[in-house]
Symmetry: C2
Subunit: 351 residues, 2 copies
């Protein structure tokens, strides 16, 4: 049989096809594509999932297991509407599947009627899929997933997922979500000033430059990693990234030379590391309050922003930091929630 | 002949005695003692300098060269009064010296009448002595001196001291002074919240704990380095430091366990590194605006907080970071402005 794992994000669509025979699992297909829900609109979402299905071409009797965050998009009036729309679309597009599962925030799989009845339990649950997977491997661990848009932090204590927040706003409160990623984050949401010719300048609040520009000019990511649209629709080369960054303090590439622009990038990057570090200390302080020494916990990083997670974890006092790609390989680590959702289905089906 | 170099700080008194014969210089004595001017009072300052002279016991015909920052103490109504008091005291206590010099902010030595006439040119000039010395060794360099109380940053470009600020407030504006040190800084002046049982707590503004407590519990300094009075007058052991830190969010050692307190320390320490990093990017951005690549500049660190300077410099993008003790030895590096003042006198005297 085949299992299709889906992670329908607000900015990226991730999928994996596993085939299972004689108790052995094989990865048949891995897909990660830019999927800007707020641009695509509802029809675009339906169309995108149809195309995905065509390209994956599952064999009869396949099972679909879905996790999502796209319901947060302002395409939808609220999360419930978003979840119901996505669930409805999956039910329709994959109507020929033998079973259709949805991951909830308790790391359980539910089917259509329950997902429709309690949509908030399905919203933003992709972390619950990934954390479920990691908790099988590492008993005391902080899982940190930094993607294009956001940072998820999940403590696993004694083999159990031990979060305080089950919704995005709760996670923002408890330090389990930082709305900061390595591609799509507007610079003016990270810092409120940048170094400028020996002083500091306050910032424009336009979307002139993104965290992707910072990470690229500092060599943290390559051009091929820059998989979102740029702030000005221009290219992804170093020159274009520097040009965009120069606009953050309302300057341009004639007013600032490249060395000056690089200082802006460095300042923003360190502020990003500090933001993640700060959130980690919050989570560590809870672990400490339970009587554990947080420095003995492992850290497992995932996502395109793994480099940022590692740096922040080291500063927070963690000694043992591994990347999830060291466990599952690089390809799967980039679509981890989809893979986890698929494996959860395997477990439910007793395969 | 003998030269006595003095650095009369607000918190520490530093001195060096050099003997010079046949063009060769020998270090005869190095003194560094806690000298809390605001506690000692004017009489205590006079008395302290008298005792210092007794203990150093200079031979006839000696020369004194003095730099200072003690005039900032609120013992004095303003800097002019402070400088004139200190200069007057030096003139009196060391009246048997053949010459008495004072370092000014242009890295020149002046004598009594000029110091008395233009006291603001003498105020807080110890950086000008150290930077003068470093500029003889390193053409393109940032000199970073982190002491118990404050951080001084001096850019040296093409062998010339290239600062924008000549007074403390100007230096605070241009990123050449950070009022942050590794012993005496009140925690609530560094951060405005600390991690607390999975959340963040705002802070008491009492002087409950100091940066020295943070650096000690994290192993950045040893008990013997903790050469200032503690916030509560109690001891300098790890236990006492942890106890003091627990009070910062109005808790105590019954409400917080040691792991929880250590998280507070980590958060404050990273905030200290960030503060110095931030100021370095400001100075770097000025260097960049002059067309230089700041990453090619060396960094020379000095003072008890050299470890903090190194960490911040690395994050700011500097590759080549050396400690001044690598040039002058550890003992002298801790009293660098006094040593530099002495050597400036040697140069003026043509020895």
């Amino acid at each position: 049989m085949e299992i299709l794992g889906l992670d329908i994000g607000g900015a990226n669509l991730k999928a994996i096809k596993l085939s299972v025979s004689n108790g052995k699992t094989h990865v048949k297909e891995v897909i990660r594509e830019y999927f800007p829900v707020w641009i695509l609109g509802k029809n675009g979402v339906v169309e995108g999932l149809r195309k995905l299905k065509e390209s994956v071409n599952p064999s009869p009797n396949y099972v679909v297991s879905t996790t999502m965050t796209a319901e947060l998009s302002d395409l939808f009036r609220n999360k419930s509407e978003g979840v119901r729309f996505i669930v409805g679309t999956v039910e329709e597009v994959f109507s020929d599947a033998s079973r259709r599962f949805y991951v909830n925030v308790k790391s359980k799989l539910v089917e259509y009627s329950e997902a429709y009845k309690s949509p908030l339990e399905i919203a933003a649950a992709n972390w619950a899929a990934s954390a479920w997977l990691i908790s099988k491997k590492l008993r005391n661990c902080i899982f940190i997933d930094i993607g294009s848009t956001s940072t998820t932090i999940v403590p696993i204590i004694n083999g159990k997922i031990s979060v305080q927040g089950y919704t995005d706003p709760e996670k923002l409160v408890y330090g389990e979500l930082v709305y900061l990623g390595v591609l799509r984050t507007n610079i003016c949401s990270i810092v409120n000033k940048v170094p400028y010719k020996g002083l500091f300048a306050r910032l424009s609040s336009e979307k002139f430059a993104l965290s992707g520009d910072v990470c690229l000019v500092l060599g943290k990511i390559g051009v091929k990693d820059y998989t979102t649209e740029t702030a000005d629709g221009r290219g992804r080369g170093i020159r274009e990234c520097l040009d965009r960054l120069s606009r953050v303090p309302c300057a341009d590439n004639e007013i600032l030379n490249d060395y000056e622009i690089l200082e802006i990038a460095r300042y923003v990057y360190e502020s990003m590391v500090f933001r993640v570090f700060e959130t980690l200390t919050q989570v560590r302080s809870r672990i400490a309050s339970l009587g554990y020494n947080p420095s003995t916990f492992k850290v497992c990083t995932a996502g395109l922003g793994s480099f940022l997670a590692k740096e922040a974890a080291k500063r927070a006092g963690f000694k043992d930091v591994i990347d999830v790609s060291g466990i599952y390989g690089k390809k799967i680590s980039h679509i981890l929630p989809a893979y986890a959702a698929a494996l959860m289905a395997l477990e439910v089906l007793g395969k």
